[in-house]
C-alpha cells in the first residue's frame, strides 16, 4: 500500500469530477484543497456557508480583510461575479438543492450512505457547525478520505460507530485507494489503484465491495 494517493492526489481526483460552472461547497480543512486542482478551462463557483458565492483564493499575508472570510474563518478574495447573502439564504442554497456538489471530510462513512464527521464522542465541547446541513440537498455529496485510520482500521464501514452527521447522504467516496459510489446502500467499486488487487482492497474495507464489469484505474499525477 506504499503507493496510496496523498491527500493532494485525492483532492486532485475529486476535482476531475467537478464540471465547469458547477456550484460547489468544500468543507473546512482537507476538502478546501480540491479548489487548487480544477482542470484547466473549468471554473467552478464556490459557496461558503457564511454568505459568499464565487470566492477565490486567500489574499497575500498582510492584505487580509477580516470581514471577508470563509466558513473556516480564513481570509478569502472575491472573483468577478461574486455575491453576498445572509445565512438563511446561504443554507437555503444548500438544503434547497441548488448546489451541484458538496465535498466533505469524514471519520467514517457507511455502505448505506451514513456519514460520521462531526464528533468522535462525548468528550470536550461539542461543535457541529454547518456539517449536518451540508450533507442534505446538494445533488452530489462526496467525501474525500484516507481509506483507513492512522492505526489501519477501515473508515469505510458497514455501519458507523461514531455519532452521525447525516443518514443515507453520501453518494461518492474518493479515498487514498479507490473511488467508490454508494448505490442501493452498497459500496460499488468504480476505480482502484492499479497495483492493488480487489482482494487487498476488500481486506481494508469494512463492508462488501460490489464489483461492476468495468473497474477503472485510479491514477493521479504527482501534485502537492
Amino acid at each position: 500500500m506504499s503507493q496510496k494517493l496523498s491527500n493532494a492526489q485525492i483532492a486532485w481526483r475529486a476535482a476531475q469530477d467537478i464540471a465547469d460552472g458547477a456550484y460547489v461547497n468544500l468543507g473546512i480543512g482537507f476538502p478546501e484543497m480540491v479548489a487548487k486542482f480544477q482542470p484547466p478551462g473549468r471554473q467552478a463557483i464556490f459557496h461558503t456557508e457564511n454568505g459568499v458565492l464565487n470566492f477565490g483564493e486567500a489574499p497575500p499575508e498582510g492584505e487580509e480583510d477580516w470581514d471577508l472570510i470563509n466558513a473556516g474563518k480564513k481570509a478569502i478574495t472575491l472573483k468577478p461575479g461574486a455575491a453576498f447573502f445572509h445565512h438563511a439564504d446561504s443554507f437555503g442554497m444548500v438544503r434547497g438543492g441548488h448546489l451541484d456538489v458538496a465535498i466533505l471530510g469524514t471519520y467514517e462513512v457507511a455502505e448505506n450512505g451514513d456519514l460520521a464527521n462531526w464528533s468522535t464522542g462525548p468528550k470536550g465541547v461539542p461543535a457541529v457547525g454547518g456539517a449536518m446541513d451540508l450533507v442534505h440537498g446538494a445533488k452530489r455529496v462526496a467525501v474525500i478520505t484516507d481509506h483507513v485510520t492512522k492505526d489501519g482500521k477501515p473508515k469505510l464501514v458497514k455501519r458507523c460507530s461514531l455519532p452521525l452527521t447525516g443518514v443515507g447522504c453520501v453518494t461518492r467516496i474518493y479515498s487514498s485507494l479507490a473511488v467508490i459510489d454508494i448505490e442501493n446502500s452498497r459500496f460499488v467499486l468504480r476505480e482502484k489503484l492499479p497495483s492493488m488487487s480487489v482482494e487487498e482492497l476488500q481486506a481494508v474495507t469494512g463492508a462488501e465491495l460490489v464489483l461492476p464489469d468495468v473497474i477503472g484505474d485510479l491514477v493521479a499525477p504527482e501534485v502537492s
Partner: protein, 240 residues
C-alpha cells in the same frame, strides 16, 4: 422619525437580567464589538445584565467580545453551532466546569430558526440532523418519502448588530461577508440595536441597496472607528 441615540451606553440601555440576546457576526466578521463592550461596561458598573442567553454562531474568541462577556460572568447559556475558535478558553473553561449551558444547533437550522422567529413562523421541518443525536426528542415527519425534523422559531428580547451604513430611519447595509446572521437577528428581536460605521440622512442609501429595512431596527449609534474582532484578536487585545 430618528432612531439615532447619542452614545453606546444609551444604545444598550434596557437589556436586563435573564434576557435572550442575539449578537450578529460569524467569527469576527460582523461582530458588534463596541456594543458588546458597552454592555460589559454596564455590567461592571452595576452588576447587570447577567444570566443572559446569548445567540451567536460561535461562543467567543480570545478575551474580547462575547468571550469577554462570558469571562465577566454575564452569560448563563449559549445557543450556537460552533462553540470553538482559535482561542475558545472563555467558553470552554466555563462549559467544562458546568458554569454555562449550551444549546448546540446546526448552523443552517440556527439561521432558519432565527428567520422563522422574525417571520412569525413558529415551527418548520428541516432534513438537517435527522437520525442524529442532535435530533433526539424532536418531532419528525415524512414528506414525499423523506424524513424531516421539526424545529422551532428562535426569538430574542434584544439584538446587537453591526452595520456599515444606516440612515436615521434604520435602513441598513452591511460590509462584505459581515452581514451573515445580522439581517435575520434584526427581524427576530424585540429591541434591535445597531452600531453603524456611518449614519446618513434618509434617501442617502439607495432603496435598491437596503439589506435590512428600518422596520426591523429600533436604535442606531454611530461608531465611526469600529474595530474588527479578528484584527483585535491578532493584536492580542483583552477587554478586561
Amino acid at each position: 422619525m430618528d432612531k439615532t441615540v447619542p452614545d453606546l451606553a444609551a444604545a444598550v440601555a434596557g437589556i436586563e437580567d435573564g434576557m435572550v440576546l442575539m449578537v450578529g457576526g460569524f467569527g469576527g466578521s460582523g461582530a458588534p464589538i463596541e456594543l458588546i463592550h458597552a454592555l460589559i461596561d454596564r455590567f461592571k458598573a452595576t452588576g447587570s445584565p447577567k444570566n443572559l442567553t446569548v445567540v451567536n454562531n460561535n461562543a467567543g474568541n480570545g478575551r474580547i467580545g462575547i468571550a469577554a462577556m462570558i469571562d465577566a460572568g454575564m452569560v448563563a447559556k449559549m445557543v450556537c453551532s460552533f462553540p470553538r475558535s482559535a482561542d475558545p478558553r472563555a467558553f470552554t473553561e466555563k462549559y467544562l466546569a458546568g458554569e454555562i449551558a449550551l444549546e448546540l444547533v446546526p448552523q443552517g437550522t440556527l439561521a432558519e430558526r432565527i428567520r422563522a422567529g422574525g417571520a412569525g413562523i413558529p415551527a418548520f421541518y428541516t432534513p438537517a440532523s435527522f437520525g442524529t443525536d442532535v435530533a433526539k426528542g424532536k418531532p419528525v415527519a415524512e414528506f414525499d418519502g423523506k424524513s424531516y425534523v421539526q424545529e422551532r422559531w428562535l426569538k430574542a428580547d434584544a439584538a446587537l448588530i453591526k452595520a456599515e451604513l444606516a440612515d436615521t430611519m434604520g435602513n441598513l447595509t452591511y460590509r462584505k461577508a459581515a452581514r451573515n446572521f445580522s439581517p435575520l437577528m434584526a427581524a427576530a428581536a424585540k429591541l434591535t440595536i445597531v452600531q453603524a460605521t456611518k449614519i446618513v440622512a434618509p434617501g442617502e442609501i439607495n432603496p435598491e441597496q437596503v439589506v435590512t429595512p428600518g422596520i426591523f431596527v429600533n436604535r442606531i449609534v454611530e461608531v465611526a472607528d469600529a474595530k474588527q474582532e479578528e484584527a483585535l484578536m491578532r493584536e492580542g487585545v483583552a477587554y478586561a
